[in-house]
Symmetry: C2
């Protein structure tokens, strides 16, 4: 909940070196054929340091999901209560897509890995599950008091995640060449049609043409105030970029 200035330690380069070394070996030799010792040998660091940055070998395949989940939680927490709930969680899902779309090559490589390594698929499921829970918790809060509040919340969250994944996989299968935003907008529009309350716009991504921005903002407030939520350790250039796009579109 604090507008971030420069992040003090920036980013540990060692973490990135480990990710790079790991992916090099994963793609050329396979995930299970690569041991943690191989990775640290290629990265030139000690074995113990690997587990300092990644609690398990699987985590190195999803280096930025933890941060993305935090972004999404912050985005939902900072929302104004005026927004229609279903549209809000759809916008939250768009955050995840944006993370994937930031590094298309990396995302496609990872997709190929997770597709053929059962262990990675299982791990990805647990990651996706946390996103779904975040959406469901938000919706449970919004639907508190309604007769079937938690049921409705869980079902909608699952539907949104499924639609998002459907679009995401379609985009990944095209090697990142198709239009990711268009695909996911269409998919999310489908669930909005199925669950949206009448007051919601029948289609289209967002009203003002401004889709949900990264870091959980900007959020339109009654009188043209723009709130931008950021994590303290967010890279500065991304904050600047977000400010530019937010004001460029207003």
């Amino acid at each position: 909940m604090s507008s971030s200035s420069a992040a003090p330690p920036a980013k540990p380069p060692m973490r990135d070196a480990l990710v790079a070394a790991a992916f090099r070996l994963f793609v050329e030799r396979g995930y299970e054929q690569t041991t943690v010792d191989d990775i640290v040998a290629l990265a030139g660091v000690g074995r113990r340091s690997f587990f300092r940055y990644f609690p398990s070998k699987e985590d190195v395949v999803f280096p930025d999901h933890e941060g993305c989940l935090a972004d999404m939680t912050a985005f939902l927490a900072a929302g104004d209560p005026q927004c229609e709930p279903v549209r809000r969680v759809c916008d939250a899902a768009r955050l995840v897509l944006r993370m994937y779309a930031e590094n298309p090559a990396f995302s496609v490589q990872r997709y190929r890995l997770t597709k053929q390594v059962p262990g990675l698929r299982a791990y990805e499921l647990s990651v996706v599950w946390r996103y779904e829970r975040a959406l469901a918790e938000y919706l449970r809060g919004r639907y508190a008091g309604r007769p079937d509040g938690t049921l409705r919340a869980d079902v909608i969250a699952a539907a949104v995640v499924a639609a998002h994944n459907n679009a995401l996989r379609s985009w990944l299968r095209s090697d990142g060449r198709s239009d990711a935003d268009e695909t996911v907008d269409h998919a999310l529009g489908y669930v909005q049609d199925a669950f949206g309350t009448g007051s919601a716009a029948p289609a289209g991504p967002a009203p003002g043409g401004a889709p949900a921005a990264l870091f959980g903002g900007p959020v339109e407030h009654p009188d043209d105030v723009v709130v931008l939520v950021s994590r303290r350790d967010a890279p500065l250039w991304r904050v600047v970029q977000e400010i530019e796009t937010a004001f460029g579109r207003t």
Copy 2:
């Protein structure tokens, strides 16, 4: 696809002994505090034999899901093409609930375990994911040709699973005392209302009052023929019970 008589090797008692020993230790000492050596020591068998029956330590917590998944696949494969797709996958989901409801005490114990052990939660997710994929694949076949066939299939499958899980967890939290069927019927009715095509009954579990039976049957055919699908190794008493209920309700 064959009505089962007596299963030749019945069931290996060793498997059940391992499950019993494992759960005793899991509940009294915790999952992660229990090693495989502890389990095999209590069961009085060799360590190697454990991994003969269960590919991993986690599998011993879900000893019957593999079979249930096979039942569900068979149920969907044996369906008549007349049935409305959404209602059919809802009936398939009821199969899973029935498996849980067969051993309430066991299911509740397992629920408590998976709720507090992250590794087991992750494993359960991969299990549930396979159910969801089975439903989605079925729906993809039924919706082949439609404009957004796969999207619709994925979203509905996810919604059905979410509704089922919502009801299941509610039942488990009540220690198996509430009415599982009623709860799940209500939850599935919600998604049927959201996605069902006009021709479907607006509410209620099934038209003839006969919910989907175990083993993937019975399935109503045009002229009062009842097909009952069973796995070859299914216990005889369950087959008998299914026949009784199927005919008792017709």
